[in-house]
Symmetry: C2
Subunit: 363 residues, 2 copies
DNA sequence: TTGAAAGCGGTACCAG
DNA sequence: CTGGTACCGCTTTCAA
């Protein structure tokens, strides 16, 4: 709960003096006002109405092109002109307060720096949602627990939320109670009450391990990045390897040449004959170190990456990898849009993370 | 004199449909309502007040821990309990409408996929702003011109905006008129009326070219990625090379092996003896192609990257590069915070993009 | 210590 | 065709 009490003195004390409001002294043609203290307040529709000599209602009709009401062309023009002159911009909060709902879609700001693929997915999603006329808000939950984070999010009254799995059933409930039409979770497992976009990293580990086993390796080293924040991906990938029945050997590794050299020596001198290196970048690091240590890839040690980056194709030997398929942002955006329109829809569960082994020369 | 008549509270307006609002029929002691069709509407502070048997004012006091008012402990407890029971979450829009200001900081959603460095910067910035208790909103302007985008942003009444340079002085003005306390621009040149965080990619090109010239190359090939969206970076980098007085030869290149092979052959058979390859990834692609084409690096062609990725150190020869220094997100977040507190501050101009050549073996 | 009520800026009814 | 006005949910005076 982010209840920071407003320490600030009310900037707008209820001055009982009638019209302390500015903008009263506008003489149409008068342009040279020397001592102009400048309007310190932002223009409202009332200001526009006053300047155009109409009511606020009319201003609203004109500016929103309300179809059900007919406004004469001259009036329309006067209103528009006044709005332009004042630099009037409607107040979204006021509008949605009145409307009873927003067009906000909340996206999770991943606590940890996500991979480039995931970032790209989020970016595309964001773009697609914008195109569908949604206001995309990224809200950093900054270390709040699932339910507290949900409460913080709910304050914005988003029409939809794409939350990480950690939100839990309770968080989901909080959001739904506060009017969120669609709660989708992104993560390895479904959450009760929410739609699930299953992204299970175990799939990636499994694809890698299956390929390696088909090459005759039953004992597989699995690189576990020491870099903080990556365990969220690394752990399940390890599990996925295990799930194939292979013997998985965790291999902690920092993204530095020195540590890679150490690991390379260890591997050269014994250990699993195949390594699933977490992703292409760690794979490249390890492969280089292996080669520098005089080990043959894949002869002595087979190395497999993940993510299918271009760099894998440029290495020698060419790097075998796992291609990870994320759904297109547009696709998910459309799904969100549909779910918002049908809030009562049965919670759907959809697997959106595909993994395919790509055999090249390093395995 | 057109005095707007003070709206007098009409005690009984002829509203035909009296109370369509639910919850009006509470008979004090009546608590056991059997057929509860569940409240379909989201709970408001009024609901909490009713359940706790106090006024809305009291609810507000309790929930916000208002210091200036003393509320008895039993009452506080009743209110909190009621809020919990209803799953009450305050309505941010209503609150900021009343308060007259938001805590929203608007970040640009880059139209084009930005580089990993820039993404990392934005992520960190976002995180830091959240920590400073700002609501970070990413708003995709989806192909609106500077001023239109500004208008769209202004609807949210953000307290600060970090806009791309494209917003222009007019866009800046729109935002300021609608109450934005601080407008910062991220880009190559200052914008009138806004604070400028100068990120001039020419610096990168210049650093590369200076290094290459110190190696005796006065004619420098400059890779121009064909991938859409990268020209925004590539063009100024090219300019930067030119600015050193070197003869710059644009070298269009797609991020594919085939096109790289083509370019490599051309370079092998003549042309500039040095290439600034846009960044480390294009450099790697090109270097591989060069080697496959039988050209020696740096003997026949010197290759320089940018971004100082780890992969550069893993290549053979090791890749010379330009390290690009972006400011830390925390730093900028604090700057924003300060500027918001001092809206009248002189527009400041700050250079935030550093570039240093790192000589390794490829040049 | 608590309650009544006035708005914040817009929208959409209803009457003229 | 246009104006008056009652809300939306919340905060914050002022009075009791």
């Amino acid at each position: 709960m982010v209840q920071i009490p407003n320490q600030q003195p009310d900037p707008r004390p209820p001055s009982s003096d009638a019209s302390s409001r500015s903008g009263e002294s506008f003489t149409s043609g008068d342009s040279a006002e020397p001592a102009e203290p400048v309007a310190p307040s932002v223009p409202t529709s009332a200001d526009v109405a006053r300047l155009a000599g109409v009511s606020r209602a009319t201003v609203s009709y004109v500016l929103n092109n309300t179809g059900a009401v007919r406004i004469s062309e001259p009036t329309r023009h006067r209103v528009r002109e006044a709005a332009r002159e004042l630099g009037y911009v409607p107040h979204a909060a006021a509008r949605s307060l009145r409307a009873g709902h927003t067009r906000i879609v909340l996206l999770p700001t991943p606590e940890m720096p996500a991979g480039p693929l995931h970032s790209a997915f989020l970016n595309e999603l964001q773009w697609a949602l914008s195109r569908l006329d949604h206001t995309v808000v990224q809200y950093g939950s900054v270390g709040l627990t699932g339910e507290d984070a949900a409460r913080a999010w709910a304050e914005l009254r988003p029409v939809a939320v794409l939350a990480p799995t950690g939100i839990g059933p309770d968080g989901t409930a909080v959001l739904r109670r506060s009017g969120t039409k669609a709660v989708l979770t992104l993560g390895p497992e479904p959450v009760e009450g929410a739609h699930a976009l299953l992204m299970d990293q175990r799939t990636v580990g499994r694809a890698a391990a299956e390929h390696l086993r088909s090459r005759g390796h039953d004992r597989i080293g699995v690189v576990m990045p020491r870099e903080h924040g990556l365990d969220a991906y690394a752990e399940p990938r390890l599990e996925g390897v295990r799930a194939t029945g292979a013997e998985a050997v965790p291999l902690p590794l920092s993204y530095e040449e020195e540590d890679a050299a150490r690991l390379a020596r260890e591997l050269r001198d014994g250990g699993p004959g195949a390594v699933f290196a977490y992703n292409d970048e760690y794979a490249m690091l390890l492969m280089r170190a292996l080669q520098d240590a005089g080990a043959d890839v894949p002869g002595d040690v087979a190395v497999m990456g993940a993510d299918d980056l271009m760099l894998g194709r440029l290495l020698r030997p060419r790097l075998s990898t796992v291609r990870v398929d994320l759904p297109s942002g547009r696709e998910i955006a459309e799904l969100v849009d549909r779910l918002v329109r049908d809030p009562a829809a049965e919670p759907l569960v959809r697997d959106v993370l595909g993994a395919t082994a790509i055999a090249r020369e390093s395995t």
